[in-house]
């Protein structure tokens, strides 16, 4: 396929179509809406299902229903809409049916604004919904990656009968870049053997998330946890830049990681031994890889478009081996490369590194000074 100038949202929609999505249910919300609008054009053309739901609550439950029949299905939204899906997400997880969710994050909390942000990391990677389950979460940093990860999301969701989330920040959804779309895949013909699809000549099937006897429910939880351990083993993804000799390791995902790249290049030009580690699978998180890096590095610097949601996971990986510094912008502010460059210079100087557990406090004071 030729390189074309594509908007992230449109690219993810078309990628899903080519990955064989058979039903899309969603509700408009900026900065995700172009994805829904593209589905509105393309799905009917292809004789597939497009339906604008009355709400995100309805959308996730429509997806839940369609997924129970064994069809590839998805929804997309942005932060407040995703928050409304939490109950449904927990039901889908408890029922072990595969679905794909695209979350194009915006500034919050609350109605907030529609600018790019990364404030859904916690609710997608850790918190979202009641009970113990973990979705696969993939974070693209370019339109091309958004395409590739959307296709991957469908394959992983099916492989593990799990929820796969493409967690893009608003800039990925809104920006245009040259990118290449995959070939159109045929939609899956045979339904999986668990599908509730009203077939004749077989025992009736049930898909449900209720297990009244706690011991039965516990067995489900154990199955989910074991499957998750498989996922942790097989599906960790990340990108590295200039890490071989790096004493300073920048960690950032999505747009934050991409902005950091510019800063890293600039710093490298000035001979600062800095490299970039960009997690692509936020869940499963590359704990082992970061732990290994921590052995060689002098300092870590986590860069996010939130108040440090991934930061805790990096610290979990590092377990105190190196100081883990933090720089974040919140509420929809996208950092400029020069800010991160300045941070690199700061952590390059041991005197201005805060390994004293007041990392967040110090960041907040710096930020406050800078913008207050």
């Amino acid at each position: 396929m030729p390189r074309e100038l594509l908007k992230g949202n449109v690219a993810m929609a078309e990628a899903a179509i080519r990955a064989g999505v058979e039903a899309y249910f969603g509700y408009p919300i900026t900065p995700q809406t172009e994805l829904l609008e593209w589905m509105a054009v393309r799905m009917p053309e292809l004789g597939r299902v497009f339906l604008q739901a009355e709400s995100e609550v309805a959308a996730i439950n429509m997806v839940y229903g369609a997924a129970c029949t064994g069809k590839r299905t998805m929804t997309s939204s942005s932060s407040p809409g995703v928050s409304l899906m939490m109950e449904g997400i927990s039901y889908v997880a408890g029922t072990e049916v595969p679905i794909v969710i695209v979350d194009v994050m915006r500034g919050g909390p609350g109605l907030g604004n529609i600018a790019p942000a990364q404030g859904d990391y916690k609710q997608m990677v850790h918190g979202g919904g009641h009970g113990d389950f973990k979705p696969i979460v993939l974070a693209p940093a370019s339109v091309q990656e958004a395409i590739d990860l959307t296709v991957l999301a469908f394959d992983l969701a099916d492989k593990y009968r799990t929820i796969a989330v493409v967690l893009a920040d608003g800039s990925i959804g809104q920006m245009m870049e040259p990118a290449e779309l995959p070939e159109m895949r045929p939609v899956r013909s045979a339904a999986p053997d668990w599908a509730v699809d009203g077939q004749e000549n077989r025992r009736r099937r049930l898909l449900s998330s209720i297990h009244l006897d706690p011991h039965d429910e516990e067995l489900v939880n154990i199955r989910l946890m074991k499957r998750w351990q498989q996922i942790e083993k097989n599906e960790v993804r990340y990108k590295e830049f200039e890490l071989n000799d790096a004493e300073i390791v920048i960690i950032g995902f999505g747009t934050a990681g991409r902005v950091a790249l510019s800063a890293v290049r600039q710093a490298r030009n000035e001979g600062i031994p800095v490299g970039l580690f960009r997690p692509i699978s936020l869940s499963p998180f590359p704990f082992k890889q970061l732990k290994a890096l921590a052995k060689k590095a002098k300092v870590f610097l986590v860069v996010e478009m939130n108040a440090g949601q991934m930061y805790d996971d990096v610290r979990l990986a590092v377990e105190g081996q190196v100081p883990v510094e933090f720089y974040g912008r919140m509420g929809g502010v996208v950092p400029f490369p020069d800010e991160i460059y300045a941070e690199i210079r700061r952590v390059a100087n041991p005197e201005t590194v805060f390994s004293n557990g007041r990392v967040r406090e110090n960041w907040l004071e710096r930020l406050d000074k800078a913008i207050g």
């Binding site: 390189r3 100038l5 529609i114 920006m175 870049e177 991409r258 950091a260 490369p337």
Partner: protein, 186 residues
Amino acid sequence: MQTEIVISGFGGQGVLFAGQILAYAAIEADKEVTWFPSYGPEMRGGTANCTVIISDQEIGSPNVRRPEAVIIMNLPSLAKYENLVRSGGTLIVNSSLINREVQREDIRVVKIKANEVAESLGDKRLTNMVLLGALLESLPVLEMETIKKALEKHLPSRKRNLLQANKDALDKGAELAEVRDFMLLV
């Protein structure tokens, strides 16, 4: 080599489309490019801007603090970008909506009464192309021909009838920029 251009004005002034035409043209010219909008919720009346980065290598950050050139389509945008444009950079100013002078002297400034020019060309919505033409004249990052090819390919069908007018607007803008430019020199 990397060039960053910002286009800024009210929503509805064609800010985003002008940037997209630049991006399409960049692809025509086999360059790396990113188009990054500041998207506002208001359909009209709000401020909108986009950053277009054209480069020979993989592009990192899709936005920059100090762009090389800025097209200023309204007063709030001047307030915001006058001090941000890089020293030695270019400011294309829509003097139809901006009565005040630009203070900085370390940059090149091109002022055009783009609304009037556009209306003289028959359609107020051509304002953005007039200013884009002026930009290309002052900062030849892409060939005018490439831009026009991009226009031909990507002008939405419902505006097809305005294709020629858009091209004329580009030329007119370039022409005026030239003149202004000359005047600046003397």
